[in-house]
Symmetry: C2
Subunit: 382 residues, 2 copies
């Protein structure tokens, strides 16, 4: 069943998997989209979340995604991003082959983006297994991530669409869920199970019910599948997208002409849901920490978890922050001193042209502020 | 009893008292000192409170003080300020005679400052009545202020030291109090009363007791007195200060030599308290609104009162503030957008080199932050 066995996998505790442990048929697709509106004013139209270092690691989320995937994929990485961000992506990823930097003329959601990448890769490597991983997620424990992807690749080689299911940390209403079925019993992928169904973002009561069953995991949009299998599924459920993606892959000069005609749809709705209903989807559980850093509340929690304690977290120069009896998150971004007194769980984000102050538990409302910028004639701040 | 009668006074409801209503023997002394530390980062060593427009009126507190006094004093105004601020004061008050801009080589508190001004004025006008009014207070109802000063001048001409007593709006522990005695029965100053004693800033219980008696008013440091009477009192209770002030007034070149030897003491302790004990002090009640704008809590309350409503007050350009379900005070000072979400009664002050976020009810603690700037090696921000 390929290059990998389970003993090999469980030994792999070093995050920097040696090159000889890479998977020669594995290609990574990184959809680099999403504005990260709820992380304004840090995240902007021109500098979306994935281009930012949100963890203070010295690497942006996109770079960290690259770093996580290249031990497995080496240089077999494709990035799909908006045309406006293609230059920034190329700048951040000097190792990315320009032929696999796919610039979307307009946003068409994830299915056209992933289908195009799969079609481009399939022309180069008809037996490729592709794994799609968003550019703006944060993952702790890279070894566990590699282990999950290796299992997913093993299962994907059998012709299934494999999703990596995130172990829920609570009854979140912000994610869709995957309902697990029976174990597949694969020798080299012992934790893989069938998927009964994908379900949309639930309300809080439904989410709590899901968790109580122990059968549900978060759908983080991590899919591993043979490129040809994926294209077959797209051809079956969204034939126009398959045709368009393959036409562009065959003749890249047709991108601007064909792209706008592609249906704007997420991969979940386009193929994952109907494929699950047809019994064609499997899942591998993630044992690693995962965060999509959806808002400043999540970001503060993430930094708390990394620091191993709570308090006033600083994303940037701690010398620029003076916190007195205050907790939460300060992002100093201008070299100015940021003094915060007597506020628990507050978020203060200082940027050269905009300043945000919001309690952590209302961080979701940042999106509403961004929506109002246009009304106020401050569209340039978006 | 002088130029003014009570009918004349009660007619004076126009804040811009006509020039012919000025008091020819009245001289204003404006002590322009105090750092306003609790208003950091708006107020700085180099730009103290009195040099700032804290009400959005277009005039600084110093200029507003000048505007309030010149209808009564015309050009008979002396300003005493730190040497570091003399140029700024001259720039803000083009009408101020340079001979009456007194620059203190070092801070010696209010008694030496006022004694020096009184000595300088007495050499020019031996019959002068001087009135001392801090440069950093905010007063509503200028007509009522003028009425109170006119009464105080009437009483001062009789040889008493007269303080304008502020009607307390609550049991403040931030001010000293004046305890009123019997009415003086002066025809042209019907509301004047004897002063029984000055008392230091009380604790909260004592302040509440004071208010319950109805006999106490806040001491805002507004003194009106014949210049010669004041100098006599200083000579009696602080002879070295009187001697030094008169020596400097006689030969201004001696300022830098004599000034450092003067006792550092407030006028309250130096002469007002012992003079009251000797039965030499009277008080006139203030019926005007008064605020010393001690911190951002007071400033927000002041702006609320002026706006006639509560909400998010903005001191500066309202276009630079986006408040969603947030109240308090924002001072935008850099042209950046300041977005505040979901925080009641919060203060956000945005300046080019420092940013402050603090709940209104902890505004007093700003002083502690300023004290820490030195420890942190950020002394330049003070």
């Amino acid at each position: 069943m390929g290059l990998m066995d389970s003993a090999h996998r469980t030994d792999s505790t070093d995050p920097s998997t040696p090159a000889h442990d890479s998977l020669p048929d594995f290609w990574a697709i990184i959809p680099a989209g999403g504005a990260g509106t709820r992380l304004w004013p840090l995240s902007r139209k021109g500098a979306p979340k994935f281009l930012l270092d949100l963890t203070g690691s010295g690497r942006t989320l996109l770079q960290a995604t690259w770093d996580r995937l290249t031990p497995l994929a080496q240089d077999r990485v494709a990035v799909v991003t908006g045309a406006a961000h293609a230059a920034a992506v190329a700048g951040q990823l000097p190792g990315l082959d320009a032929a696999y930097l796919l610039a979307e003329p307009s946003p068409r959601d994830s299915m056209p983006a992933i289908a195009l990448a799969a079609a481009v890769i399939a022309r180069q490597d008809p037996d490729a297994i592709v794994g799609s991983f968003a550019a703006d997620h944060v993952i702790d424990d890279v070894a566990a991530f590699h282990a999950a992807v290796r299992e997913a690749v093993v299962v994907a080689r059998t012709g299934l669409l494999v999703t990596v299911g995130i172990t829920p940390t609570g009854p979140s209403t912000a994610f869709g869920y995957v309902r697990e079925g029976m174990p597949l019993g694969a020798i080299d992928a012992p934790s893989a199970r069938a998927v009964v169904e994908f379900v949309e973002k639930p309300d809080a009561a439904t989410a709590a019910d899901y968790l109580a069953t122990g059968e549900y995991r978060w759908n983080a949009g991590m899919f591993v599948v043979r490129a040809q299998t994926l294209l077959d599924l797209v051809r079956r459920f969204q034939p126009a997208i398959a045709e368009g993606a393959e036409a562009i892959a065959a003749d890249r000069s047709r991108l601007t002409q064909v792209w706008p005609s592609l249906t704007k749809i997420a991969i979940d709705h386009a193929v994952a849901e109907p494929a699950a209903a047809a019994g064609l989807v499997a899942t591998v559980p993630a044992t690693f920490g995962w965060d999509d850093v959806g808002d400043f509340h999540s970001l503060a929690a993430l930094l708390d978890a990394r620091a191993g304690s709570e308090g006033m977290r600083v994303l940037g120069s701690a010398d620029d922050v003076l916190a007195v009896d205050a907790t939460g998150l300060v992002v100093p971004g201008t070299g100015r001193l940021v003094a915060v007194i007597g506020l628990p769980d507050v978020v203060v984000v200082d940027t050269p042209d905009a300043l945000l102050v919001v309690p952590r538990d209302r961080a979701q409302e940042v999106k509403g502020v961004v929506d109002r910028l246009t009304e106020l004639g401050r569209d340039s701040l978006r």
